[in-house]
Amino acid sequence: MLGEFEYLILTVAATLDEDAYGAAIRAQIEQKTGRRCSIGALYTTIERLETKGLLKTWMGDATPQRGGRAKRMVRVTPKGTHAAKEFYEAITKVSIGAAWASHRPGAKA
């Protein structure tokens, strides 16, 4: 099963689709979770996910705003999509009935 941070990366990468690369994923995670995401944590996790076959990475084009440096592009593999879906379903099932779950019976939408 995935870890929490692994799931975040997979989900953000899947959402960004063609525009998924290191800096964009990091910015999205920081914006959506309100938590700081270090470059080290991001890239080591991306590498781990790639080793597990859940992500595919390659070097993209260099752009002037990046000082002529290439982007490390990321794409979620079908295996990665399956793992993220499994994680999401498990979290959703486990959360049913919990006080903080918005869709528990009788909870306000």
Partner: protein, 243 residues
């Protein structure tokens, strides 16, 4: 100046990661301090994660405690022979008698140093710096107290302590081959290690009695690893060519 420092520190990262990280930092207009922390944090994290595996421990400790002593011994043997022969024409009459032993010692050093460098680079590429440091450690510690003399024609010739590092250039070739995933062909591997094994086995048998198998296998492990890789690669290419 700050950019130069950041780029220098970024050399701690492999090329692909360096490019991506420096680009990300430029894109997010990160300050000098946060860029430094980000790069150092990444480099440290990567190193820490490497050490969670058995590979760097094995590569470092096994090389340092087995192969180094053999390499230093062979380096000193070869240097002693060369220095004796360098004594002058009077010494040259002994060359034909010492030449077979000298040739075997050179072959042994070549095989041991090449295999050690190759094994260190192949087993744990990212912690190669540490494996090499552990491997060189005994030579560095022996450097100060090194005192070996050879007698020739009533003269005493003292060996330079640098002879302890004679194996180093040969080992660098092995490291290069390991880093570039080059593998010698099986016949070349056998050519490299057979003279080494032939010399080593009887020597250790005489010195260590019944435990000779263990004591032979210990310093030989980089060679066994090389044979295992060469045979595996030969089997795979044979399967690929099979109809």
């Amino acid at each position: 100046m700050n950019r130069l420092i950041v780029e220098l520190i970024a050399l701690l990262l492999p090329r692909g990661d360096r490019e991506a990280v420096l680009g990300d930092l430029a894109e997010s207009s990160a300050s000098f301090a946060s860029s430094l922390f980000a790069i150092l944090g990444f480099a440290l994290r990567r190193q820490f994660l490497c050490w969670l595996s058995w590979r760097p421990w094995f590569a470092g400790i096994a090389l340092a405690y087995t192969t180094t002593w053999l390499l230093m011994g062979s380096s000193v043997d070869i240097s002693t022979s060369v220095v004796s022969w360098y004594g002058g024409p009077a010494a040259w009459h002994s060359v034909p008698y010492g030449l077979p032993g000298f040739t075997l010692a050179v072959l042994r050093l070549v095989a041991a140093a090449w295999c050690a460098g190759f094994a260190a680079a192949r087993i744990s590429r990212r912690t190669l710096w540490c494996s090499l440091l552990l491997l060189l450690g005994p030579s560095i510690s022996c450097y100060k107290s090194f005192h070996v003399e050879t007698h020739f024609d009533h003269r005493i010739i003292q060996l330079s302590p640098f002879v302890l590092f004679l194996y180093l250039p040969l080992m660098i070739f092995g490291v290069y081959a390991g880093l570039h995933n080059l593998r010698p062909r099986p016949w070349m591997t056998l050519l490299l290690i057979v003279p080494y094994c032939i010399q080593l086995v009887p020597t250790i048998r005489v010195q260590s009695g019944p435990n000779f198998v263990l004591w032979t296998l210990l310093p030989l492990w980089p060679c066994c690893y090389l044979v295992w890789l060469a045979l595996g690669s030969a089997r795979r290419s044979k399967e690929a060519w099979a109809p």
